[in-house]
Symmetry: C2
Subunit: 344 residues, 2 copies
Amino acid sequence: MFAPPAATAQQASRSGPLVIQEQGSFAVGGTVSSTPGTYDNNTPTAAGQSLHGDHLYAFYQVPQNPRPLPIVMLHGAYQSARSWETTPDGREGFQTIFLRRNFSTYLVDQPRRGRAGNSTVATTIEPAPYDQLFFDQFRIGTWPNHFDGVQFDRKPETLNQFFRSVTPNTGPYDAGVISDAISALFDKIGPGILFTHSQAGGPGWLTAIKNQNVKAIVSFEPGSGFVFPAGELPPAMPSAAGPLAPEPVAPEDFRKLTRIPILIYYGDNIPTEPTARRGEDNWRVRLAMARLWVDAVNRHGGDARLVHLPAIGIRGNTHFIFSDLNNAAIADLVSTFLREKKLD
Amino acid sequence: MFAPPAATAQQASRSGPLVIQEQGSFAVGGTVSSTPGTYDNNTPTAAGQSLHGDHLYAFYQVPQNPRPLPIVMLHGAYQSARSWETTPDGREGFQTIFLRRNFSTYLVDQPRRGRAGNSTVATTIEPAPYDQLFFDQFRIGTWPNHFDGVQFDRKPETLNQFFRSVTPNTGPYDAGVISDAISALFDKIGPGILFTHSQAGGPGWLTAIKNQNVKAIVSFEPGSGFVFPAGELPPAMPSAAGPLAPEPVAPEDFRKLTRIPILIYYGDNIPTEPTARRGEDNWRVRLAMARLWVDAVNRHGGDARLVHLPAIGIRGNTHFIFSDLNNAAIADLVSTFLREKKLD
């Protein structure tokens, strides 16, 4: 049988083989808590024992001839690194798409989530039935109806996979704990690019403040943790999903966000006027706050850009822009940005 | 630059590139629970909503020219698929070792663990300090001392990584739920080989009873769920870690375990006589029960073998045989078994 040269595999079309130099996983960051007392090997109790927790878990892949900067991908609420893997309808996600584009990738389960489940703080997990809420809030449609033209496949198995990508917190959500761990990851791997989704927006900004190895952020629908310089906070924004409040940081910390290029995407079906439809109204205020945030970064000399996809003619995106039906086109937009900023 | 042919990469030495035809992840199995009532899109409560839970999560990789049977790897208690990835000291684990040997691999997070965290039953997660207990129970040594000659690297970072691979249950452990999901995985992927570790031993046997697509099992230190034909149960075995009781199954179900080759490994530092040292005594009874179990399978016409590694001159293995310092040699043993049984 004819064996194609490896170089062919590497310049791969979407269906060609991946050539991976190295892959693996590790934990990084976190803390160790200890219980006073003396450990008894034969009759162990908590006394004298320790717990390693609050770290993150990362799975990485290094392609042949990798570009200089790896991409770290941080999921949103109720999700894990699974967000960036296979799409709900079974196509390649950003993990493999950007590997094919010769970026090393680091997919993270944040502290107290997924495979980084060991938390130093207790929690109770209730089997909360949220499928219908997620359908609305993640803007697939208004349950049980899909939005017209939504970039989300309508096969029942697609929705099944989407719902089963949900995984709970195993400890209280803490943006400080998360950004500490992501910062430790950037200490370990060196300079890189950070992709964030939804709730990870806030920890993403905090990580860039903490660590100069974050060389750019691409944030997909950041949903909370909009940090502004103390004294420059806009008012909280009421919505049908509750108020969205900005969060203060020291002005000198905020200025650290002006050192790097930042790109933010929001998808479709976000109203401009208040509506009682909770799932949509939730994003109306987030998009509005993100616009104020981008203005603040740029006012302080930064390089932030917000792309509302419908404004450039790209319609139908849900809250999961990077796994929507048009995710290859979205990846092209991201690649163009990285090239423009000389990050590839 | 000279590009080596892909065939070279594929017959790879341990440091050569991996050529991967396809990779990705999915959920399979599980159930949907529903709350009575009518869902209100604008003011959502639990009413009328559903929850997808109790599925497993799998990450798969298909090498070029894969062997006919993929390998499914199922972790033990307090672990996730991370068990099979990079070893605590940073070398390749069974995921990548068997990929290099041209097996497709499916790494599973079982229902209610890791990225398959959505449980249909509530639980409370306490930050239980178990590091020292795990050090003893997983037979790295007697805390704080390593066993002489243990196949576990002594750098502090190795132990740090080992402890941080621990992740809690996000719902009650249920061997029936787990084996249902693994069986659904084998329905999806077709015939394959199942590797199990520790607590996964029991769900492994149950899966082989439920699904004829399980063509062989390699079990590393099965720790519980030893199923015997009703009426042929040996007595429970007391130990310093509590009693180990066999579990009854219908004789016709037990006989299904005689259709496939089964290989079981146990490592070193397992005493033959009762001892007060809990971590070691725990495995004394498990090894003894496994011997009775293998005898029962073979008495009914099966093909089960137990290899106590020290008996063949392989010393120092912990409870994590497949990630110990000699894991490449252990993989060679497994490869020889698969070849003998014409499973490769």
